[in-house]
């Protein structure tokens, strides 16, 4: 039959998000929306002290309160060997404190009650005696010889060092510095921030005494990995554990780890025999769950007199809090921070990293970031900008001179990464052109003559995303492949089941478009299912911009497998040999006779009704995709800011972002991701920090103190793209969800510093509050007066 003209090209189309219908109607289904029969409610008592011995806990008054079902303490958990749990970085973390509390906000006891009001009332009735201990908030002091040992629970732990890890070649780097004409150095602190997803943590643990089945509704970015960790921690048989991660209100890395609340709720449900719900409040989320960043960084860049980079030396001290509790590829102790050579053809580099315990919340999650590439990108882009000032070169030109050139790809960096593809100069040129960079520079000069401050910042970042190839990447030994299972039903509709898990990234649309593109089934006819471990193939989840590089690749591969089988079936129904058939978008036709054709929907029906003898019926398959390499998205951002010379306030005037993430599946969703990242980069550079006082009190545990930008102050973004496909991804795609969080903070920081250049200012640590900008101007003016 003839095929009518219709939509067959789905790649690169801004299809409206299929999932938004239910979200805009308020019909999403989040964990807190789930209500089970006989469900109980849990609340957590947290430590007011940052470091103290736990001398006694009296729960009798709380237990006596009407409506309280149980009060769980560390001592009770210890009886079941559940007082401590492993972290995703191979450390341990207390579920409920038994010996000491080690940060303010640590979980001390939990109340399980008939309703959350009673549970909270009972928290006030628990009497805890603490014996305060010296508090360590500074990771540098934490590594002093006489510092009290925070993790005295760990056998053999004699100090507060978590790891010492190096990358690169020290000797080669030392030689490079000996021969250098110019050395530029920078010390900067990338402050502790928090992903602060709109939805805090939540779970319902339902251990059914009748069936032996444990069902846990949990707002998790990595439900399969969580299932395995739960099986290992609790000893429950893994086939009896089902993790259901329904709609998630944002994750940003915060919802990768296992948190104490999840474990206690499960233990409580097991002991009580009823479902137990725990919905975290905002303060609990900000004070106790996975924070991000908190890297104290030192960088030195060596150059020759022409501006050619010779070598890079980096020292980094990570403030991990009291537990090393990020999700980390086990081979790389500081994540992928050693990609710190960035977009540059660096002949030598040496990176020394140390992790330290402090009396702060555990974590170090990669907040919208591929395992610490954010901090790395920030450091190199700040260093390069300062090097340009030192050499009196235009920062854009210093970058251009040192970029890895297109013909050098695949490029092996001196710290061991194999960059897949890139054309950095093209992105730079486009950003300069679209931002009117030269005009901005001219205007900057004019304004400075009038006493007004305009600053222009650049960042030409390269990311490493899509973990990862099994040879290098695992979490607790589980390799970081991902999976897709595709079933095409007899009527030609399909369901795609994935091991990754959307938290707002638009998987239900993007991945349906991949199926549509590969198999010709329109996106509306493809249901994407994620997050239920009983009904999706195993995968490591969604973070580190890995879904499209891994799960997306798996989807393309499995769709292609099905297309091969479909071809056999089509040959059978059209009564020709398979090699006589050609594929076009959504149908096969006989070469030279386009009228003789059959649609994918007809083939799907035949797969269940008229398949060839000797072939298995059905049209479905599963693929586990082990990526051959990481993907390396890149781009250049230009930011212009105006600084108030009297108050230090600064306003963004221009943000031009050129991103290259290879082939874009849904440009609208990609642009949404980039705008989100640019907003978060703005937030980190301007206002966000989880700070602590000397006693270890958390000064950022609510939204009055931990600031999220609103639409009012968020700048306008102008987006552009270049397209350099990944040579190894089946569709040429790279990850993009985190590019702008990674690339933009340095652009904002460079812009503010650039505005104050004439005052001798070369660094302001983030968040660049108006007060800090004012102090920097004051110091600059005073220095000039002397």
């Amino acid at each position: 039959m003839a095929v009518e003209e219709k939509e067959i090209e789905w790649l690169g189309k801004s299809v409206k998000r299929k999932e938004d219908d239910r979200f805009v109607r308020g019909a999403g289904n989040y964990v807190d929306d789930v209500v089970l029969p006989n469900m109980l409610h849990m609340a957590i008592l947290r430590s007011p002290f940052a470091h103290a011995r736990l001398t006694s806990i009296d729960t009798s008054a709380a237990e006596a309160l009407d409506g309280v079902v149980a009060v769980v303490t560390g001592a009770l958990l210890a009886e079941h060997n559940l007082a401590w749990m492993p972290t995703l970085s191979g450390d341990t973390q207390a579920v409920l404190a038994t010996d000491k509390v080690r940060f303010q906000g640590q979980e001390v006891a939990c109340v399980v009650a008939e309703n959350p009001y009673i549970a909270h009332d009972a928290l006030e009735l628990i009497e805890v005696e603490y014996d305060p201990l010296p508090v360590i908030v500074d990771p540098k002091k934490s590594l002093d010889d006489d510092a009290p040992v925070i993790r005295n629970d760990k056998e053999g732990q004699k100090d507060n060092r978590i790891y010492h890890w190096e990358a690169g070649d020290k000797e080669a780097t030392d030689r490079a510095f000996e021969g250098a004409d110019v050395v530029v150095s920078l010390d900067t602190h990338y402050p502790r921030s928090h992903p602060a997803p709109l939805e805090c943590c939540a779970c319902i643990a339902d251990v059914n005494p009748g069936t032996g089945k444990t069902t846990i509704y949990m707002t998790s970015q990595a439900p399969h990995a969580i299932r395995t960790v739960f099986a290992m921690v609790t000893g429950l048989p893994e086939q009896n554990i089902q993790i259901i991660s329904p709609d998630i209100g944002g994750g940003f890395g915060n919802k990768v780890p296992v948190y104490p609340g999840y474990v206690v709720a499960t233990a409580a449900s097991l002991l009580i025999g009823q479902p137990v719900k725990w919905t975290e409040d905002r303060s609990g989320n900000l004070a106790s769950t996975g924070f991000a960043r908190d890297f104290h960084m030192h960088g030195e860049l060596a150059l020759d007199r022409d501006g050619k980079m010779l070598g890079l030396r980096v020292g980094m001290l990570s403030d991990q809090g009291y537990a090393y509790a990020d999700a980390q590829p086990s081979k790389f102790k500081a994540g992928l921070f050693h990609i710190v050579t960035g977009s540059y053809d660096m002949p030598a580099a040496h990176v020394v990293t140390d992790g330290a315990y402090t009396n702060k919340a555990p974590g170090g999650v990669a907040y919208r970031c591929s395992f610490r590439v954010t901090e790395a990108s920030f450091l190199i882009e700040r260093l390069v900008q300062n090097a340009a000032y030192e050499m009196d070169m235009e920062p854009a030109e210093l970058r251009r001179k040192n970029f890895i050139r297109p013909e050098q790809f695949p490029y092996t960096s001196v710290t061991g990464f194999i960059y897949d593809s890139g054309d950095y100069e093209k992105a730079l040129d486009l950003a300069l052109e679209k931002s009117g960079y030269n005009e901005l520079r001219a205007e900057q000069k004019r304004m400075r003559d009038e006493g007004k401050l305009l600053g222009i910042g650049l960042a030409s970042f390269t990311e490493v995303v899509g973990a990862g190839p099994s040879r290098d990447y695992d979490i607790l030994g589980i390799k970081m492949f991902d999976s897709a299972e595709l079933r095409v039903h007899p009527t030609g509709k399909a369901i795609l089941k994935l091991g990754v898990k959307s938290q707002g990234q638009g998987h239900e649309t993007t991945f349906a478009q991949i199926v549509a593109s590969e198999l010709g089934i329109p996106p509306d006819d493809v249901t994407v299912q994620e997050g239920d471990t009983d009904n999706t193939p195993y995968g490591l989840g969604t973070y580190a911009s890995r879904s499209t590089p891994t799960g997306g690749a798996a989807t393309a591969v499995v769709a292609r497998k099905l297309r091969e089988k479909a071809k056999e079936i089509a040959a059978h129904t059209l009564e020709v040999a398979p090699e006589d058939l050609e594929w076009k978008g959504d149908h096969f036709f006989v070469k030279g006779a386009p009228d003789q054709s059959t649609t994918i929907q007809e083939v799907a029906f035949a797969a269940y009704t008229n398949h060839p003898q000797g072939m298995e019926a059905g049209l479905e398959g599963v693929t586990y995709y082990d990526p051959p390499n990481m993907t390396y998205p890149f781009g250049t951002y230009v930011v212009a800011v105006e600084v108030d010379a009297k108050t230090g306030e600064w306003k963004v005037r221009t943000v031009v972002a050129v991103d290259d993430c290879g082939i874009r599946i849904n440009p609208m969703i990609v642009e949404g991701q980039i705008m989100g990242g640019l907003t978060e980069g703005f937030a980190m550079s301007s206002m966000q920090q989880i700070a602590f006082d000397e006693e270890g009190n958390c000064l950022g545990s609510n939204f009055m103190d931990y600031l999220l930008p609103t639409a009012w102050e968020t700048p306008h973004f102008e987006l552009h793209e270049t397209v350099t496909p990944s040579p190894h991804h089946p569709m040429g795609c790279k990850g993009v969800g985190e590019s702008a969080t990674v690339g933009s903070p340095a652009a904002y920081a460079n812009a503010v510093v650039d505005a104050l250049l004439h005052l001798g200012v070369r660094n302001i640590d983030m968040p660049m509050t108006s007060a800090k900008v004012w102090e920097a101007m004051q110091q600059g003016r005073q220095a000039q007066d002397q």
């Binding site: 609340a43 959350p116 009001y117 549970a119 909270h120 009332d121 006030e124 303060s283 009297k646 108050t647 230090g648 306030e649 206002m687 920090q689 700070a691 000064l699 009055m704 103190d705 600031l707 999220l708 930008p709 609103t710 009012w712 102050e713 509050t769 108006s770 007060a771 004012w774 102090e775």
Partner: protein, 288 residues
């Protein structure tokens, strides 16, 4: 939110509300806009046994001039101030402050009187009212009195309001036939409390300042009336030297603390910059 349990009353007359306060006194709290009280109850920093919700009392939402002075009823929301033509035309300091207070959701519910009674040193309305020389009308079952805003504030989150009293009205004296006013606020983002706020009100007589009101937000244990700066302006012409002197005196009146929002020096400097800006604006407006 999971506050402690409390008993809730929604009286429909001011007399009933006052009777409830007379009965429950210190164990009761008045609920108007709820934008300060409810968050405190959520965090269990406040746990009143009785809530007396005055929102169903008719006739407390007046915003009008009477006998030459302005009356702002206890249920006038900040958004009412923001949208009022009367405020826009006659009370520029209030008109400047209203849109800078928190965010639209808070402004739609939060009341001017409630903000004054909460006595948060970072509260914006108290500075504006201090600069304007306003008084609070306080009623109890047994009588009524007027308290100047400066006498109302007794420290951070502490007022001289009696437990059996309801603040029913702010009373603002005639701003003068020719007046200038503004409110400048340093905040870290929209919706933030003030890092520093400066309210300026000037009654003008030709070239001269007849009477000046300057008050400061978030730079002390309470909102601060910059008395010496006001005195320096009274009767003076707004030339550069006068402006500098008044700005410096206002900065000296500030007593800020160093915190994450900035050092004490920084905040004091912001007071100086803001007062300079406000007075320069007044001088320019007058010239034009």
């Amino acid at each position: 939110m999971f506050p402690r349990s409390f008993e809730y009353f929604a009286p429909t007359s001011i007399e009933d509300a006052l009777a409830l306060l007379a009965e429950h006194g210190e164990d009761a709290k008045v609920l108007a806009g709820g934008q300060s009280l409810i968050p405190l109850m959520k965090l269990r920093f406040a746990a009143p046994d009785y809530i007396v919700d005055i929102n169903r009392i008719q006739g407390l939402d007046y915003l009008e001039e009477q006998d030459g002075s302005l009356r702002i009823g206890a249920l006038v929301r900040t958004s009412d101030m923001e949208r009022s033509e009367l405020i826009a035309s006659r009370y520029p300091a209030m008109a400047a402050a209203a849109p800078l207070i928190s965010d639209p959701v808070v402004r739609n519910l939060g009341t001017v009187v409630g903000s004054l009674c909460h006595a948060d040193p970072q509260g914006d309305w108290a500075s504006v009212m201090l600069a304007m020389g306003a008084e609070l009308v306080c009623r109890s079952a047994t009588g009524e009195r007027r308290v100047a805003i400066g006498d109302l504030i007794d420290g951070p989150f502490t007022t001289t309001l009696e437990p059996n009293e309801i603040a029913t009205e702010v009373h603002v004296p005639d701003p003068g036939a020719h007046s200038f006013g503004t409110y400048l606020k340093l905040e870290r983002k929209v919706g933030d409390f003030a890092s520093v706020g400066v309210a300026v009100h000037l009654a003008l007589d030709g070239d001269r300042v007849e009477r000046a009101g300057i008050a400061l937000t978030a730079v002390g244990a309470g909102n601060i009336k910059a008395k010496e700066a006001e005195d320096a302006l009274a009767g003076a012409v707004l030339d550069d030297a006068t402006i500098d002197r008044a700005a410096s005196l206002a900065a000296e009146a500030a007593d800020p603390k160093t915190d994450l929002r900035g050092s004490a020096d920084y905040k004091r400097e912001i007071v100086r910059v803001f007062v300079t800006r406000a007075l320069s604006q007044a001088a320019t407006a007058k010239a034009a």
